[in-house]
């Protein structure tokens, strides 16, 4: 549970304090709250046959989305959007679905991951994703305007392994961004500032700065002895240290809605299958508070990974088989269909929980949700045929009036790169194309007000 006035009450959130030494009581600044963007990933496609909402957008009684009914006027359901680029790319369905999802770029050639269509004796291997992902692009652009404590926050729920099947964010081609999966660690990393006494905090900051200065000098000397390719590798490392040092002095914005959250932390068991709901809830609670505290403007929550094998033991109707296995049954298999309904309904309930938290935080005239766009993505349309057409994308929140919410649009086969372009426009960092230009000629029409 989050403590304080998070649920319901009208609370104000100030602008971030750029002066680290401002006393806690000095946060009297007010103004327009910032725009935020959040990506929300679930795996293995959905029940495409029943996914679409009714024309009325009344979600009450909808088999999948009933939990989201209170927010239906803040949602857009996108039908008929294809991950077209994935059909040009090397890699199998899950690989391309995952790596192209936020990049709209083809997968790089490489020798890292064997792809699904390879024949024995004629194996085809692929590398990492081939472009910067749109969340990282927006984060880089926002960072030019304002330095927040984290440039972006990637949270994961039991993503576990690191591979092309489990990474959706890329800081650059070939540079996957791992999510933060341990809620216990996240709690310390995000919120310890809030409870620290200012003296101790200042001491930690100046000590870190001194140490990192020495480490950076050390890096420069070290790199001068390396060959070209090794040096490239270390350059990225050094850049991360520079970035870390730059953010050291950013302290949490202690607006009224921003408090250290009280959570049900899962302790050391956060990776156990049956702790999936508890871990996920802790990550959602912290994600929302991180946004309320303006620790970042760009975030994501990745539930498991493509080819997710999570067993939904807590949903009584679902048998013990893992999600990916279930997603592979024939369309005619009533039992598997029923299980997939329950799984995707459960994810809709989690999505509704997140939206509820965000809508309960008032920032001036708007709620936090109104200042944000939450983007629900999936690497596949449907699991058993691995289609990346007619993706089950949902937008929530109008991002301060940019999106024309409360509607269901059928785009009739538009490439998803145009959605990524729309997102850059919503966040006031507009580009004309994103990733492969052929599949991203301008924003999707009809989304914006």
């Amino acid at each position: 549970m989050l403590k304080g006035t998070l649920y319901g009450g009208t609370v104000a959130i100030g602008m971030p304090m750029l002066d680290a030494m401002l006393p806690r009581t000095g946060s009297a600044q007010t103004g327009t709250a910032p725009k935020r963007i959040v990506f929300w990933f679930t795996a293995n496609g959905t029940r495409q046959d029943i996914w679409s909402p009714p024309a009325s957008m009344d979600l009450n009684g909808h088999p999948l989305h009933a939990a989201m009914a209170p927010f239906s006027n803040k949602l857009i359901f996108l039908d008929g959007v294809d991950q077209s680029v994935t059909y040009d790319s090397i890699g199998d369905g899950h690989q391309t679905g995952m790596a192209c999802m936020l990049t709209n770029a083809e997968i790089l050639p490489g020798t890292l991951f064997c792809e699904g269509n390879c024949d024995a004796g004629n194996e085809q291997y692929v590398g990492w994703g081939g472009g910067q992902s749109v969340d990282q692009y927006i984060a880089d652009e926002v960072a030019k305007d304002v330095v927040t404590k984290f440039k972006s926050l990637e949270l994961g729920v039991q993503v576990k392994s690191s591979s092309i099947w489990s990474r959706m964010s890329y800081s650059a081609p070939d540079q996957p961004v791992p999510p933060r999966e341990d809620p216990n660690q996240n709690f310390t990393d995000f919120f310890s500032d809030i409870d620290s006494d200012p003296f101790a905090l200042r001491l930690i900051q100046k000590r870190r700065k001194s140490v990192l200065d020495a480490v950076m000098e050390d890096h420069a000397a070290f790199q001068s002895r390396l060959g070209y390719e090794d040096k490239q590798k270390l350059d990225k490392h050094l850049q991360s240290i520079r970035d870390l040092e730059q953010r050291l002095e950013i302290t949490t914005n202690f607006g009224e809605a921003c408090t250290s959250p009280e959570l049900d932390l899962p302790g050391g068991s956060f990776e156990q299958n049956d702790m999936y709901p508890v871990t996920g809830k802790a990550q959602m609670d912290m994600l929302v508070m991180a946004l309320a505290c303006d620790l970042t403007r760009v975030a994501s929550l990745q539930w498991s990974r493509s080819v997710s094998g999570v067993r939904f033991n807590w949903v009584p109707q679902v048998l013990g088989e893992g999600h990916h296995g279930l997603s592979h049954y024939d369309d005619g298999d009533a039992s598997a269909k029923a299980d997939l309904l329950e799984i995707n309904k459960w994810y809709s309930e989690q999505f509704a929980y997140l939206l509820g938290l965000m809508d309960g935080i008032q920032e001036g005239d708007n709620s936090l949700l109104d200042n944000t766009v939450v983007v629900w993505v999936n690497e596949l349309g449907k699991g058993n045929n691995h289609t990346r057409r007619d993706m089950p994308f949902i937008l929530a929140g109008d991002c301060q009036g940019y999106f024309n919410t409360g509607q269901h649009i059928d785009f009739g086969g538009e490439p998803h790169g145009k959605l990524l372009v729309s997102l850059t426009h919503a966040m006031d960092k507009p580009v004309n194309t994103f990733g492969v230009p052929q599949y991203s000629q301008g924003p999707l029409s009809g989304l914006a007000v």
């Binding site: 199998d92 369905g93 020798t111 890292l112 699904g116 269509n117 024949d119 024995a120 690191s162 591979s163 800081s171 070939d174 540079q175 996957p176 961004v177 791992p178 933060r180 990393d189 001491l203 100046k206 000590r207 870190r208 001194s210 140490v211 990192l212 020495a214 480490v215 050390d218 890096h219 000397a221 070290f222 790199q223 001068s224 002895r225 390396l226 060959g227 070209y228 390719e229 090794d230 040096k231 590798k233 270390l234 990225k236 991360s240 240290i241 970035d243 870390l244 299958n273 094998g309 013990g320 088989e321 296995g325 592979h328 049954y329 024939d330 369309d331 058993n384 045929n385 691995h386 289609t387």
Partner: protein, 560 residues
């Protein structure tokens, strides 16, 4: 792996390294050097950072810190079956942030016991400066696995001085703590640079320094930093000849730390991490309890450790041994298959029924991992044998193909059900490679317990193995198959190449042919002894040499 080097830079590199090459060549020399390196089978490994496993063991040996602090770091990429592959160990903002926090935690714990940290210097008697310099020089040499340059010593001393001069800090311990933090975040600690030096043996092929060789040996054979003996050998520059290196390797494999290597390798090769997430339907398998997972894993790890390090060390024994390691609970689980009685929680060696069990292959841990929640899986078991033991790469089910695993059918055996599916022409191409091998394991149910019958029908554990190099044929039961695998050249060479990938942190390339041949020769002449293979891995040109570093054209090389 990307193509070797960037030859564009070679001309200028040659100029910088004129002391080594003695001449400035053009395209001609570059081509000659390429040919020389190829003929010598010298293939460079990219710089690699410590894995979490290696970091944990390194701070254990460096500072006595056994808290496994690196567990909080993001997981490594898994490539070619292993998580220590240099090309895949990328960096990220999160990793760097966590390195800082881990370094802070480790340093705070370390300065809690100053006498252990700096045993031979007392700042009250000898002075802060003297003790700080003493610490930086001596501890730094162990942390960086080489002597520090004067510039480096001064750099860390200035961090110490900053802390001593700071109004909020000021204590000797504060200074040491920040020095530790900086060292633990230094690339010299986090990475393993193997740059080589000295006169080329031929072309631009150079040997490593003795310090670098000590580090190469310790991370390859122990997955941790060098011990005092290796450091002394490096100090005396006695890690230059093949004989010196082989003597160290032989010694190291007798050390306790080799257990980490054997466990880490087999955990990954035999996919034992999958055991952590195994769940079983207790309606179908009432004997299953989640506590078995840890016991299953320990059984296999103890077995491979004992066979490789204390037993006869042969691949054949790993695959066919008629003994295993168990405690009372586990022996109870195996029932009649265990011929000795065991009591108590300690693991001990037991004889097993040689008609039913053979080496690691039929262990409950492997059988349960490669099974479904409520039934065995001929597909997973066949796939495991194909990929892990025979080094075949099997395709995943194609895009856009609907795959339907069978529901439990109380009138049929698992084999009968899978035979029906395997007959589907869309599946048969690949599944004839897997399913028949899996059928040979049908005496082991979904949790690895022996069964003679299923659903009232006798188990048929026959299967035909096809499309192998040397063990095609009909087999009845896994004991028979294990014996064939143990005699297969394809399997032996596969095991050799798995160790190659794990030990060298990279995949085998076409340029490795002479190293691979050398390894296979030694493996064969040793009677396929794993320890002999490990020593042989220190004797290839791929391990002993690299090509001289090609610096960037604008690098001045003198930043230190």
């Amino acid at each position: 792996m990307p193509p070797q080097g960037t030859n564009f830079y070679l001309t200028l590199a040659a100029a910088l390294l004129a002391g080594c090459t003695g001449s400035i060549g053009g395209d001609g020399e570059r081509a000659i050097n390429d040919t020389v390196a190829k003929s010598l089978c010298v293939v460079d490994t990219p710089i690699r950072r410590l894995t979490r496993f290696e970091y944990n063991r390194t701070v254990r040996d460096l500072l006595g810190d056994t808290s496994n602090p690196a567990d909080v770091l993001p997981p490594e990429e898994e490539v070619a079956g292993f998580n220590n592959q240099a090309a895949a160990l990328t960096s990220s903002d999160l990793l760097i942030e966590q390195y800082m926090k881990v370094a802070e935690d480790v340093s705070a714990r370390a300065v809690g016991n100053m006498e252990a940290l700096i045993p031979d210097c007392d700042p009250d008697l000898d002075g802060n400066d003297a003790c700080a310099s003493f610490f930086i020089r001596n501890f730094g040499k162990r942390a960086f696995r080489r002597p520090l340059s004067q510039t480096e010593i001064e750099r860390f001393k200035s961090v110490f001085d900053w802390a001593i001069a700071d109004a909020d800090l000021g204590r000797f311990e504060d200074g040491i703590e920040v020095v530790l933090q900086a060292m633990l975040q230094s690339p010299s600690f986090l990475y393993r640079p193997e740059l080589g030096e000295g006169t080329p043996i031929e072309g631009d092929v150079v040997p490593f320094t003795s310090w670098e060789m000590a580090t190469k040996l310790s991370y390859m054979l122990w997955n941790t930093m060098p011990d005092d003996v290796l450091f002394a050998a490096a100090e005396a520059d006695e890690l230059r000849t093949k004989e010196q290196i082989s003597a160290q390797a032989t010694r190291m494999l007798e050390d306790e730390k080799a257990r980490d290597l054997v466990r880490n390798f087999h955990t990954q090769w035999l996919q034992l991490t999958h055991l952590d997430s195994v769940t079983k339907d207790t309606g179908v398998y009432p004997a299953y309890q989640s506590s078995l997972r840890g016991l299953w894993k320990e059984e296999i790890q103890t077995f491979v450790e004992q066979v490789v390090l204390e037993g006869d060390g042969s691949l054949e024994t790993l695959l066919t041994a008629d003994y295993a390691f168990m405690n009372e609970q586990l022996a109870g689980f195996y029932g009649d298959d265990v011929l000795d009685s065991v009591s108590g929680p300690e693991f001990r060696q037991v004889q097993v029924d040689p008609e039913r069990r053979a080496g690691f292959l039929t262990s409950a841990g492997l059988m349960a991992t490669h099974a479904n929640i409520n039934q065995s899986s001929p597909v997973f078991r066949g796939k495991f044998v194909r990929e892990q033991l025979m080094c075949n790469t099997l395709p995943l089910p194609p895009n856009d193909l609907v795959i339907e695993p069978p529901q439990l059918d109380p009138t049929k055996t698992t084999k009968e059900q899978f035979e029906e599916i395997g007959a589907n022409p869309a599946c048969a191409g690949c599944h004839t490679l897997m399913n028949p091998i899996g059928f040979i394991f049908e005496h082991y149910d979904g949790i690895g317990q022996w069964r003679d019958q299923q659903n009232g029908k006798n188990i048929d554990a026959t299967g035909e193995v096809v499309q192998t190099d040397d063990i095609d044929g009909d087999y009845d039961g896994a004991v028979e198959l294990a014996s064939a695998l143990a005699g297969s050249t394809q399997v032996r060479e596969c095991v050799s190449s798995q160790w190659f990938r794990f030990a060298y942190n990279r995949t085998v390339t076409a340029e490795d042919n002479c190293s691979v041949e050398q390894l296979n020769d030694v493996f064969r002449s040793s009677g396929f002894n794993i320890k002999a293979l490990l020593v042989a891995l220190t004797q290839t040109n791929a391990f002993l040499y690299r090509r001289a570093v090609e610096l960037e054209p604008d690098a001045n090389g003198g930043a230190q």
